[in-house]
Amino acid sequence: MMKKRLMAMCLAVAMAAALAGCGGTTESSKEETKAAAEDTGAAVEEGEESGQEPVEIEVLSLTWGTNPEPGNFVEEKILEDINVKLTMTNFATGDDVKTSLNMRLTGNDAPDLFYATAEDIADYATKGYLLPLDDYMDKMPNVKAIQEKVGVIGQVDGVQYGAVKQPQIYQEGYWIRKDWLDAAGLPMPTTLEELISSVEQIMNSDPDGNGIDDTIGITGVKINAIMPILAAYGVSRPTDLIDQDGEVVSSLYDENYPDAIAYIKDLLDKGIIDKEIMALTSDLYKDKLAQGLPVVVYDSWTQFKKPELYAPIEENNPDAEWVRIFDLEGPGATTSGLYDPTSVGAIYCVPAQLEGDEEKLDAIWRLLDYVAADEGLRLVSYGLEGEHYTVEDGTIVATDRMATEADFTWVYQLLGRNEMEYLGVKFPYAKAEIESGVYDRTYIRLVNTLVEYPDWYQRVDAQRYMDEEVTKFMFGERPLEEYDAFLETLDSTYNYKEFVAGVNEYIQGTGVLDN
């Protein structure tokens, strides 16, 4: 009997132990897409294709869970206007896109047009999966006009492999509880010093008056939360490459970098920066925000201006007033953050297997050119004229039906849109916020999307090393005195300096930085 019981206890303990072993989290990588808005150029109208059988085109895309009904008015109008029968294959995450696409490219069963990132393109192009588009660009004047603006993006070794979806505007930064600032009699901070002292003062004064010391100083999702501080020191995140007076450099070598780390470490130690930032997912962060805990957060205007996103925050914190902080002056620079104007949302590629299938290729060029400008662009931006929008004195005005019936059309914006016009029409209530984020602001320019990675460079390992070590420095897990040793390892193990020099040479050669 005793033996049996002992056995039973062992089993119970084993179950508990097994359970304890089931830890671990999966982190979804967050794709950075921040960029500027520009107007598309003039366009050439499409020829009529009526009378012929429609050409079927399958587009594989990343739509983050938005799945428009097949045969909706956008697809109908596209069929009517350019005789292309469009089928969308949508995925909710970049990983799923890659899983499906890798299989289909290998299996010679690729979609006719598919989503890729700048990094994917290099990989696919080397494997010979992509059709070079250079010879066809003349058939797509609207696409060509966009391409001339975005420069070398979508190219590998000077060959154009993709049609680029135009960058969106930069929309993130520090936001501060203005109502708490006012209550404490503090002005809007303009320097990093002021910001930190204001935050500290507010934190210590129990601004929500609940009698609990639960106010968080600065928070945000992972390293985003400290990006404006890095920027104020004139530096960037560890893995970024930046444009410094026309030279591409890594700011890890900047003399301000260790200072910035030391400053951030101090703020983390004092609890002014939320110690949990590295563990925060966007959900956990939003929980904190909705509970009214933080004084300063790193976020996008959408969070505070879009009613459906702001509602849960407002319900719990009716007095909260969030205001964006711009042009923060720090020891290294006065900036509004880090910004990659060439960070494109997507690049659309055509599989090499379609080479020679002129009918299909023509249909693809028609489709791309159609959604790139004029009528087609308006269709994928706003819906149908007269139903979802009207044009008054050359300005687009949304009807009531736009928000409810044409909220999915962005899925078809393969080449992007007229960003400022678009945001103005769709979010008229946030126009001021959006415009103030764009005009007359200085940013530290990132060049990440322009980088071509040489084969010898162990990108994933090197980036992980940089991220991990800098995080260790910040959180005091590695003494800052070892910063030089860290840089040495970076060079000796990953040849990082050589890599950066190569990137600089390449990007200088493209002339993109002159813009």
Binding site: M2, R5, L6, A8, M9, A12, M15, A16, L19, S28, K30, E31, E32, K34, E58, L60, W64, G65, T66, N67, P70, T87, M88, T89, F91, A92, T93, G94, D96, T99, S100, M103, T106, G107, D109, P111, Q168, Q171, E172, V221, S282, D283, L284, D287, A290, Q291, D299, S300, T302, K306, E308, L309, P312, E315, N316, D407, W410, L423, K426, F427
Partner: protein, 290 residues
């Protein structure tokens, strides 16, 4: 048994220690499930106010479920998965039994070779890409059958069934044959009813596998309306992570995500109580006899 009324102290203490550990384990297992269920029926604003963790909501709200079924693909996905589970499991069972039963007969010519082939394909399979080619060239791509046919027979389950059939005394089958039963009659009237424990067990394994089909759904299905439940569930869960920069969409709320988890897990969890009593018996009995 009389002794058990007068347990010695050491035994009693051990009993209590076991109860305590198991009780803690029950809490550890049940609380997350309860949390998901509670969060799905809590009003979103209350959930936020209470820090995202609610076990007993102050009021019930089914808004999350309404939102889930009106804005996502979960409705069609549910139908697809239901079809794959019902039709798929039926096909799995018919094929597996028809495969396992003959293999259990030593008198079958080439039985050793066939068994070897079975085990061989369990150890070495075609791999993802060749399988994709087969699926593509047989015209199954982008159809629900692609989620059923390629995995119609799971070798391990066939071995379980085969071992169980083998454990039955040959005399039974001989008696039935003498009474005039044909091969199929023997299978249907003698072997299958006697093998109920293992058949229920294998059916449960297949069912759960079919219900949870995910990777095949990513690989072989392109149309939204054909996506299985797990793919859509993942889309709902993941899309909230990735969208800080997309001004056009907004992430599904926490309550909606919890509702999605409930809708995708509860049906298959409900199957377990009905089949569980066969479960242990089925696997053990088949396993002992090699």
């Amino acid at each position: 048994m009389v002794r058990s009324k007068h347990k010695i102290t050491g035994e009693r203490v051990l009993d209590w220690v076991i109860y305590l550990i198991l009780f803690l384990l029950i809490i550890i297992f049940v609380v997350p499930l309860l949390y998901v269920l509670s969060a799905s029926v809590t009003p979103y604003s209350e959930l936020i106010r209470r820090g995202g963790f609610v076990i007993v909501p102050s009021e019930l709200s089914f808004d999350a479920y309404k939102e889930l079924f009106s804005t996502s693909l979960i409705g069609s996905a549910f139908k697809n998965t239901l079809f794959v589970t019902i039709a798929g499991t039926a096909i799995n069972m018919v094929l597996s039994i028809l495969f396992a039963y003959p293999l259990s007969k030593k008198s079958l010519p080439g039985v050793k070779f066939l068994t070897l082939m079975l085990v061989f394909t369990m150890m070495f399979n075609g791999g993802t890409i060749p399988t994709y080619f087969v699926v593509k060239d047989t015209g199954l791509l982008n159809s629900l059958w692609a989620l059923i046919i390629p995995g119609a027979i799971a070798q391990y389950n066939v071995i379980l069934l085969k071992n169980y059939f083998q454990s039955m005394p040959d005399e039974l089958f001989e008696a039935a044959t003498i009474d005039g039963a044909g091969a199929f009659r023997v299978l249907l009237s003698i072997a299958v009813p006697l093998a109920k424990p293992i058949i229920m067990t294998v059916m449960l394994l297949y069912m759960v596998g079919n219900w949870n089909v995910f990777y095949a759904g990513i690989l072989y299905i392109n149309s939204n309306e054909l996506k299985p439940l797990q793919v859509v569930l993942r889309e709902i869960l993941m899309s909230s992570q990735n969208m800080l920069n997309n001004v056009d969409t907004h992430a599904p709320s926490l309550t909606m995500r919890m509702a999605a988890i409930v809708v995708t897990s509860v049906p298959i969890i409900m199957v377990y109580p009905f089949v569980q009593r066969y479960f242990i018996k089925g696997i053990m009995v088949g396993a002992v006899k090699g």
